[in-house]
């Protein structure tokens, strides 16, 4: 049901504005109509003082910081509940300081982590190379007083390196020893051992010859290969330990701060909303005016609340809704709890228009019935109901929760139609002697009545939609729409007379009557379309027939489901081992149940959206979004640590 809305203006002196905006925000009754978007308004929009602009910029920055922290913490802790630790007595600056403290800690952890990870990458490379060359190291490398120098060279440079080694031997009076080890496809590691006192000479020589050293970290440079390997492996171990400690600290930090940060996020967003609200109002030199939308039933409540808080300093008046603002009226729907999920399905298509009929209740009635008609199996219905029941305990908000609620009701209708069709896990019921109350879909002779049922459902559903559409057109005084919808309704009626008399369900006289009624309907549709109606009218009518035939999917999906179930039972029965047979049947039935949950949901939704809504539903208004706080604060902020 669409709630009746009122347009109100709130007028007062500007000195009360700073108190009024938070008051309206907390009360949450009013949707402020942005004065900058209202046509033909002569009052100028509020000009925010510099301080307010600066505050807005600071809050935006703070929100960006909080978002960054939330993202960092989300990697360590999955906090699904949005409502965090509640905070109170918390100024913007309080939050800012706390966020700065947390940011500093997180930045330190992140930087340290990055350093350790970089070290681990480079150390793993060193370990790899050192392990390769270690077995080939000469004895002399382990003697004290000797230094080791390592270099990586391309294999094409090996010959040049030998020449270089000879020169180094000369330079060191034969005290230079060199080994070459292949460490990659085209890379060789060269290790030189020589007395420690010749380090600068050898280094200088290598520098002159442009040989790039394998640059181990400084502390390992002159250690023997084995010692360097030991030290680096130890360092890697320590790095891993430190990384684990950092992750643990971040995890603890995330558990502690993620809910709080989410609360602060909401507090900051609320503050931004308040600043935004100032921009949406009008001002004169001393006074202000706020235009807004409010459910009619809440006008009295807000008036009373304003009177209590501001006495007579602020006045609220209900004003007329001019014609040019009709399209701006926000839409609030109010339905019983059981219909609410379908309200969301309708809004997924488009929010209803203010003067339209809210189709949520109709969808709530038809969608589960169509689902049941398609799935129609007692066994499947029971399984679906149990699945929906279990899932509803775990998922209680969002689109998924709505689908689960729909599935619960759909499962009940599946059981009902299962009894009518005599289906209990396909034809198992039939095998133990349970007869269908109406028809068995698994029998070939049932196909025709099933198709007829689907078309009859389509005719009924679409004619009902056309009646609602005609009523809507009548209310909106839209002559063409009225003529088109009534014409279609009458045309279908004429066709029903024709089909009825031709198939001898109705007396023969109905044939002529059918033609006449059909012609009247067709002419009405053509007239509603103006000059091109003579061509478009019949095309539109053929489209209408297509829509009715589209309901054949109810029969088609049902048949597919029942035959798959039959296959499951027959295949299971063919196997000699009872256990294997049951297993095969269970697997195929499970697959069929999953398909029976998905496909009929989409198809029944599609029948509402495409075939039914097209006859009457336009939608397109914006939803009612009152200016209200995202969070109400309670307790005090705690120390960072």
């Amino acid at each position: 049901m669409i709630v009746e809305m009122s347009r109100v203006e709130i007028i007062g002196l500007k000195k009360h504005l700073e108190r009024l905006i938070p008051f309206l925000h907390t009360s949450g009754y009013l949707q402020i109509d942005d004065i900058r978007e209202i046509p033909d308004v002569i009052i100028q929009p509020f000009t925010p003082p510099m301080k307010m602009k600066e505050e807005r910029e600071e809050i935006d920055l703070l929100i960006a910081n909080i978002n960054g922290l939330v993202e960092s913490f989300s990697a360590y802790h999955n906090e699904t509940d949005d409502s965090g630790e509640q905070t109170d007595d918390l100024s913007f600056y309080g939050i800012k300081d706390s966020v700065a403290g947390i940011t500093a800690k997180v930045q330190y952890f992140n930087m340290r982590k990055k350093t350790l990870q970089d070290e681990l990458i480079s150390h793993s490379k060193y370990i790899e190379i050192l392990k390769m060359i270690s077995p080939f190291m000469p004895e002399s490398s382990n003697k004290s007083g000797n230094a080791t120098i390592r270099a990586l060279i391309h294999s094409s440079q090996t010959r040049a390196m030998v020449l270089l080694a000879n020169q180094l031997k000369l330079l060191t009076h034969g005290k230079f020893e060199m080994i070459t080890v292949k460490v990659g496809e085209e890379t060789n590691a060269v290790v030189g051992v020589f007395p420690l006192e010749l380090v600068s000479q050898v280094e200088g020589f290598m520098k002159n010859e442009k040989v790039a050293k394998l640059a181990l970290p400084e502390e390992y440079t002159y250690l023997s290969t084995d010692e360097a390997l030991q030290h680096i492996e130890k360092k890697v171990e320590l790095n891993h330990e430190e990384l684990e400690n950092i992750d643990e600290s971040m995890h603890r930090f995330a558990i502690k701060w993620l809910p709080v940060l989410k609360t602060w996020q909401l507090i900051c967003k609320d503050k931004v909303d308040e600043i935004e609200a100032f921009m949406q109002i009008g001002e004169t030199e001393f006074a202000f005016v706020i235009f807004g939308w409010i459910p009619k039933e809440d006008v009295g409540l807000l008036k009373e609340a304003l009177r209590k808080e501001f006495s007579r300093d602020i006045s609220l008046n209900e004003i007329d809704i001019p014609k040019e603002l009709q399209s701006r009226i926000p839409v609030k729907t109010k339905n019983p709890t059981v219909v609410e999920p379908y309200e969301h399905f309708v809004k997924m298509r488009a929010t209803p228009s203010y003067n339209d009929i809210d189709p949520s209740l109709l969808v709530a009635v038809f969608m589960p019935i169509f689902f049941g008609m398609m799935a129609g199996d007692v066994g499947y219905g029971i399984v679906m109901f149990i699945i929906a029941l279990v899932m509803s305990k775990k998922v209680n908000k969002g689109l998924m929760a709505d689908i689960i609620k729909f599935l619960r009701l759909g499962a009940i209708w599946t059981i009902v139609f299962g009894v009518l069709f005599g289906e209990y896990f396909g034809d198992l019921g039939e095998k133990i002697g349970i007869k269908p109350l109406w028809l068995s879909r698994s029998e070939p002779e049932s196909i025709f009545p099933l198709l007829m049922m689907a078309i009859a459902v389509g005719v009924g559903h679409i004619m009902f939609g056309l009646l609602i559409g005609a009523w809507n057109a009548f209310v909106h005084k839209s002559r063409n729409h009225l003529l088109e919808r009534v014409g279609m309704f009458v045309g279908i009626l004429g066709l029903l007379f024709l089909v009825g008399s031709l198939s001898s369900y109705l007396p023969g006289g109905f044939t002529t009557l059918g033609w006449i009624v059909f012609a009247i309907g067709l002419i009405a549709v053509a007239v509603s379309m103006g000059a091109t109606g003579i061509f478009l009218g019949p095309i539109e009518f053929v489209g209408l027939m297509g829509s009715i035939l589209s309901y054949l999917r109810i029969a088609a999906l049902g048949l597919a489901s029942v035959y798959l179930a039959k296959v499951a039972n027959d295949l299971g029965g063919m196997v000699s081992s009872a256990v294997v047979g049951v297993l095969i049947a269970v697997i195929i039935h499970a697959l069929n149940i999953v398909m029976a949950m998905l496909s009929p949901t989409i198809q029944s939704l599609r029948l509402q959206y495409v075939e039914f809504f097209r006859r009457f539903y336009e939608g397109g208004h914006s939803p009612f979004t009152p200016f209200k706080k995202r969070i109400h604060t309670k307790t005090k902020i705690v120390e960072i640590g």
Partner: protein
């Protein structure tokens, strides 16, 4: 022989329409997923767009069912 031809015609009726539907849904579906990534609020419209070509296979089903019934 006649029965075989009827069965073949029925199979062709539903088979070709199923292929046509799948080709249309492939194109619409992939574009729809792309659009949803940008604008999740379009989910209702995307469901409609994806489901529209299914009428083809439903009509194919109706034709093949009528063939087999006769």
């Amino acid at each position: 022989m006649e029965k075989a031809i009827i069965a073949l015609a029925a199979a062709l009726s539903i088979g070709t329409t199923a292929i046509a539907t799948s080709m249309a849904q492939r194109a619409i579906g992939s574009a729809g997923v792309g659009a949803l990534a940008e604008k999740p609020e379009l989910v209702g419209s995307i469901i409609i767009l994806v489901a529209i070509p299914e009428t083809l296979v439903i009509l194919g089903f109706a034709v093949s069912a009528i063939m087999l019934m006769n």
